[in-house]
Amino acid sequence: MSETNKKALGEPIIQIEKVNKWYDDFHVLKEIDLEVKRGEIVVIAGPSGSGKSTLIRCINRLEEYQEGSIKVKGVEVNNDVKNLKEIRANVAMVFQHFNLFPHLTILENLTLAPVWVYKKPKKEAIETAMHYLERVNIADQAHKYPNQLSGGQQQRVAIARALCKSPDIMLFDEPTSALDPEMIGEVLDVMISLAEEGKTMVTVTHEMGFARKVADRVIFMDAGQIVEENDPETFFHHPESERLQLFLKQILNH
């Protein structure tokens, strides 16, 4: 189905070239090449320890890499303070464990960066925040604290918080892995609606249903390298590499 309504993608927005990363002696990313176009939905799958989280955390510089180059909207991701500021403004991230700020209310979580970092007037920041909270169906909880909410609600808040700075790119780092099974659906629904809206998304996930439904491209990583990438149809039904065949068997056969 993703082939029938193939959408027009924009210019390259993330360019990863020959990236290598080591943790001490451990070679965690090996010669990674990846290009993501504006509006593209990329899903990265792979066994744990394959380096997929590390890779997307390099895109917004939560992790440093030692060799190669990553560019976001043409800006090199490095230690330059100005570049870093620009990249963090363009790229938002949603984490496995939500990482909401427990000492702030939901609304304060959402307005913190817009008010302090992007110098928006408080009133405008609150309006934007409420808009996104409505978007993720959680506006009625705006004045509660994160720990009064369920995991699924917290993750939806985290998505709204990420959206508040109107990022060009959303990174999702296993957004449903820490959730109880009955709450996965509500988070995926929000992500699917974002995808349909044309947001550029790079998602690390084990939710193969999500990948099938919205991904333009699925990437399989193993042992620090990209092993195979393809459109979802081919990826799931005609995997070429043995490792991907084995991986799909393991995650789909139960």
Binding site: N60, R61, L62, K85, R88, A89, V91, A92, M93, F95, H97, N99, L100, F101, P102, H103, L112, A113, W116, V117, Y118, Y145, N147, Q148, R161, A162, K165
Partner: protein, 363 residues
């Protein structure tokens, strides 16, 4: 297969609720516990009645001199006669309205801050202006107020001045030291570690001696640096190291994800620390911080050894008064009571603050 109807909730058995259950579980739960309960009651019986007899039943409250205190029991007349010395030390008698105004103002400001909502700018301005106001009023020499040297400040007034200045100044310095110790910059980090470990390895008495005896050696001849100011600097720098370690333990309780989320949102270092990390770190460390501040409050009495007269030294001084010889016990019990009131209030306040800031468990 079967279907079960919903069951009604009912009350727990009689022996398992209310005070009966409490006594059973906490005082009489095992033979060992029963022995300790009885022992506890015996000890209380040995201490409380004699103390009540001495401090209240047989005590003397009326009169003007030691002669009115014939017989056993406490002589509280002594406390009343020397009250001004306990409270203000050798502060000139005709100028006592000045410390009174200073204390009255802080109470009024406290009430204002608590009961009048909003007005944050004004409150902040008052917090900054108050110390200036208090110092000018206490010290004088301006606006026609007669000069009262700090050497004459004493008693509870001095204790409060030292404790307040120590707490208020050591807090921000301690935060900076804690941040320094976490820093990725090697020089800042090693300086902070060295400072903290050095100061924590030295007794406060040594620091006070150094501040009062050694420090002046570094000043040019004739420059006389106020003794109280030297003690304040010594105590503040000493406490800052302890505050830093408390706050560092708070940092360690903050999950890495909090730093990452702040980074990912684009917050800079100082924004991340001030808005996300410190509020949480300070919150978890409140019990420790208050513990440190309570011990600071009590340690203020060490200034006695460099010749400053805090509340405790005033007891020693007044009990040596020829007209009131032998009144040490009353004096020390009184001083202990005053110290206890302040430290206990600090503990209660910290408990309330913890409750108020506790957003983790929900409300």
């Amino acid at each position: 297969m079967a279907v079960y109807p919903p069951k009604q909730a009912k009350e727990p058995p009689l022996l398992e609720r209310g005070p009966i259950a409490w006594v059973r579980h906490n005082l009489l739960s095992s033979p060992f516990n029963i022995i300790f309960t009885l022992l506890g009651i015996a000890i209380l019986y040995m201490i409380i009645p004699p103390f009540v007899k001495w401090a209240i039943l047989d005590a003397h409250f009326v009169g003007n001199s030691k002669a009115d205190c014939a017989g056993g029991g406490a002589c509280w007349i002594f406390i009343r006669a020397k009250l001004n010395m306990f409270l203000y030390g050798f502060y000139p008698h005709d100028q006592l309205w000045r410390p009174k105004v200073v204390i009255g103002t802080i109470l009024a400001l406290g009430a204002f801050a608590k009961f009048v909502p909003g007005l944050h700018r004004l409150k902040l301005a008052l917090i900054v202006l108050y110390p200036v106001f208090a110092f000018i009023l206490l010290h004088g020499g301006l606006f026609g107020l007669p000069l009262v040297e700090t050497a004459k400040w004493g008693g509870l007034l001095l204790t409060l001045v030292i404790a307040t200045v120590g707490i208020v100044l050591s807090f921000p310095i301690g935060i900076l030291l804690a941040l320094g110790r976490q820093s990725k910059l090697p020089i800042i980090k090693s300086l902070s570690v060295f400072y903290i470990e050095f100061v924590r390895g030295v007794p406060l008495i040594t620091v006070l001696f150094m501040a009062s005896v050694v420090l002046p050696l570094f000043f040019p001849e004739g420059v006389n640096f106020d003794k109280l100011a030297r003690a304040l600097i010594g105590i503040t720098l000493f406490e800052a190291a302890y505050v830093a370690e408390n706050i560092r333990s708070g940092f360690q309780a903050i999950p890495k994800g909090q730093y990452e989320a702040a980074d990912a949102l684009g917050l800079g270092y100082w924004q991340k620390m001030a808005l996300v990390i410190l509020p949480q770190a300070i919150k978890v460390t409140i019990p420790n911080l208050v513990g440190t501040f309570i011990s600071l409050f009590k340690d203020t009495s060490l200034v006695m050894i460099i010749g400053l007269f805090d509340l405790l030294s005033m007891v020693t001084v007044t009990a040596n008064d020829r007209d009131w010889l032998g009144m040490d016990t009353e004096g020390y019990v009184f001083a202990a009571f005053i110290f206890w009131i302040f430290t206990f209030s600090m503990s209660m306040y910290s408990k309330r603050l913890e409750k108020k800031l506790n957003t983790d468990k929900g409300k």
